[in-house]
Symmetry: C2
Subunit: 436 residues, 2 copies
């Protein structure tokens, strides 16, 4: 039974578990959560439930409902926007022209229009800002303009942003060893890594996210992170912090980019230890309450109330547009400076491309990962927050453009999505640059 409970807990908690076989004929239309009627009715009929007794919330197509309803399934902590009025965007919509743009898919060279790409990528929300104004806005599936959507691993970029702010302010020394800030991690693989290695994910960790392996570390991580009461027989770690102390090293730090969520959880711990605040509190104080946000955001928490710094965020589409605009404008928004421009400069510079290349991301060749942001090192100097199933905040300083996408693509790999999204973003950038 422990195995079973642990598994169920895990299934609800890790955001990339769609290893289940399913028919390949799902489309954005036939998997639309309203069309499928998830959770409708009082009570919802058994086959329409996404909750008990089946807790496999993130299986496809249930996921297309779940991404907008995470707080209904798990305990969460608010990221408070405060009580100030929001700062609405100006609009200069250009929907039809953008819909008609076409581009060639990476790899296959197939031609696709922007409009076609929305459904091809199971897009739930799309916002394009040009020179700070909304030129394109779109909602589909479970999302509305006052709703919130799971940001998945885009959460990491916000945690990384907070860390980079603390580095520039001098509160956090990114050359320090993790063990000097979090002594509890001394015996773990993280102990002799530098903060910078954690921030840029070049740590060497013996950690497996192979979901098909019942002994993979991801299962222990999930069981530890579950916010639900542990079974009486459970003797493993409780919460992110206890789990992180058990991670063993593999190889050396600094050599190669290894994308592992547990780095961000360590970074969240560092931020909280130094600031005395939850990641949610610091995000509220520094960003959400000052950027003119329209909606509160929230993060999932573990069983001792620690926010999931590596993937727990849910937020509104336009509010992530504000995050993008803030990055585009080097820390300023609505005429207010929220942090030193050096913060964004540091991020945009990127990190070690050779270390990044070793990870073999075929759709991101020549890129790097800096402070939990993806740096494309392309002609436009674009960089992005990215999350599984197609989430992105894509910032193009040359085109003065921000794109935010929420999506619920059936597979958890962005490599499946990049071929029909990265060239699409470039096509919009090219169009907007020509326009002016």
């Amino acid at each position: 039974m422990i195995r079973k409970i642990t598994f169920v807990l895990s299934m609800t908690f890790v955001y990339s578990l769609n290893q289940h076989v399913f028919a390949d004929n799902w489309t954005a239309k036939n998997s639309d959560p309203q069309r499928l009627g998830w959770m409708e009715g009082f009570p919802p009929p058994m086959e329409k439930r996404i909750m008990q007794p089946d807790s496999n919330f993130f299986s496809f197509p249930k996921m297309r409902w779940t991404v907008c309803h995470i707080r209904e399934l798990l305990p969460t902590e608010q990221i408070n926007r405060g009580l100030n009025p929001s700062a609405p965007f100006e609009y200069e919509l250009d929907i039809d022209s953008i819909n008609a743009l076409s581009f060639r898919l990476m790899e296959t060279d197939e031609v696709m229009t922007w409009k076609e790409s929305l459904n091809a990528n199971f897009t739930d929300g799309m916002l394009i800002l040009h020179k700070g104004k909304v030129v394109y806005e779109y909602y589909n599936g479970c999302l509305t303009e006052s709703g919130k959507h799971g940001a998945m691993s885009m959460t990491k970029s916000l945690t990384g942003l907070l860390a980079e702010i603390l580095v520039v302010e001098g509160t956090l020394d990114d050359t320090a060893l993790v063990s000097s800030i979090i002594p509890e991690l001394s015996e773990s693989a993280f102990g002799n890594a530098t903060v910078r290695q954690v921030m840029d994910m070049t740590t060497g960790l013996n950690y497996s996210e192979d979901y098909s392996d019942p002994n993979a570390d991801i299962w222990n991580y999930s069981a530890a992170a579950s916010p639900w009461p542990k079974p009486a027989e459970y003797s493993g770690p409780n919460g992110y912090f206890e789990y992180l102390q058990t991670v063993k090293p593999k190889g050396s730090h600094g050599d190669a980019f290894n994308y592992m969520t547990i780095n961000t959880d360590v970074l969240g711990w560092i931020i909280s230890r130094l600031s005395g605040q939850e990641v949610t509190e610091l995000l509220s104080e520094r960003i959400w309450s000052k950027m003119g946000a329209e909606l509160d955001a929230y993060m999932t928490v573990d069983g001792i109330g620690i926010p999931f710094a590596g993937g727990g965020l849910s937020a509104g589409l336009r509010d992530l547009g504000r995050i993008g605009q803030l990055m585009l404008n080097d820390g300023e928004i609505n005429g207010k400076r929220l942090f030193d421009p050096v913060v964004v400069e540091n991020i945009k510079k990127g990190a070690n491309k050779a270390a990044f290349a070793k990870a073999g991301y075929t759709t991101l060749q020549g890129g790097s990962y800096k402070s939990m942001w993806w740096i494309f090192h392309n002609n436009n100097g674009a960089f992005a927050a990215r999350g599984v199933h197609g989430q992105t905040i894509y910032i193009d300083p040359t085109a003065d453009m921000v794109i935010v996408r929420f999506a619920s693509f059936p597979f958890a790999k962005n490599a499946d999505i990049d071929p029909s999204s990265l060239p699409a973003y470039q096509a919009v950038a090219d169009y907007l640059m020509l326009k002016n």
Copy 2:
């Protein structure tokens, strides 16, 4: 182990479990949650945790932290305020004069000042509106002006308000039998009760809330209502709706007021069946998005996503002030009519006093309970929403006054709190009436 898990689940879910022996020398000051440092630190030290491994969230003094953090412990559903700007209150503060008011306690005749009553009643938030303007506002313990506090059974009054709105609009026939609307309840005690008997809690139910009895119905209710995964061995009902179908009759309907939360859960079911909306959705559509609310609110949910209509609400202090003002002004606020004035007229009229008297509420003699609101039938025509541990929205139409209090009084009985609060409210009413 089932027993243990069930118990743990229960303890987190029922809001009135302070039957534990504790030293009588707790005061508002020495139990202040900030002073006690609950959940502080990364991670919080074991003895400062309110979460796992101890899940007894609502024991005192932990409760003084928990009442502001319920979403961090349980899945919840948002009551969306929408995207419109809020409608801030005007202020005409009169703090010192109100603090200095004195009154005599019920029963003992002891004299107490208003200011003293705040701590005597473990007050976390206090708002007084006079002629629609804020004359008094106070935050303490875990609460701030942008925070939310558990409304406990005040939730019932909002569910009752929705029902009364549907009655006046003709959507809900309060003379109908419950079984005619919810056939699933035909075999239960509720089947042959009228909607009105449910709304006024004069149903005859075989249901015990005796927490000292391990076989009391409240434990089965709590286990059913728990949002956490059911243990493999669990074979009881899942969620509010399944539980309600198991409730057996006792005595006859209509004879006596029997205050039982399960009536409100039935009413929530009726409202959702008829409207096709969650209680949270209807509250958002009809009330929260239209009253100029400053904050979203939320409700806890069971394991199939059904909001806890009988007690699950958390909200901001001033937003409950808006609810009070809306009731005071017979359905109007900020110059907008939200519902027919007959709704409030019906509620204020009250219900059968003789039926109410049978319940033996010594502090509420001569009162009645109508559509889940407490009607005092006093000279001022006051009526109120009330929740355990001292929550209230107290509406005095004669004094043109609304009082909202959030509190975390150590005991779950309002009979312990009324002697130092009801006369205090009257003293403020008397003062405000003289003032003009």
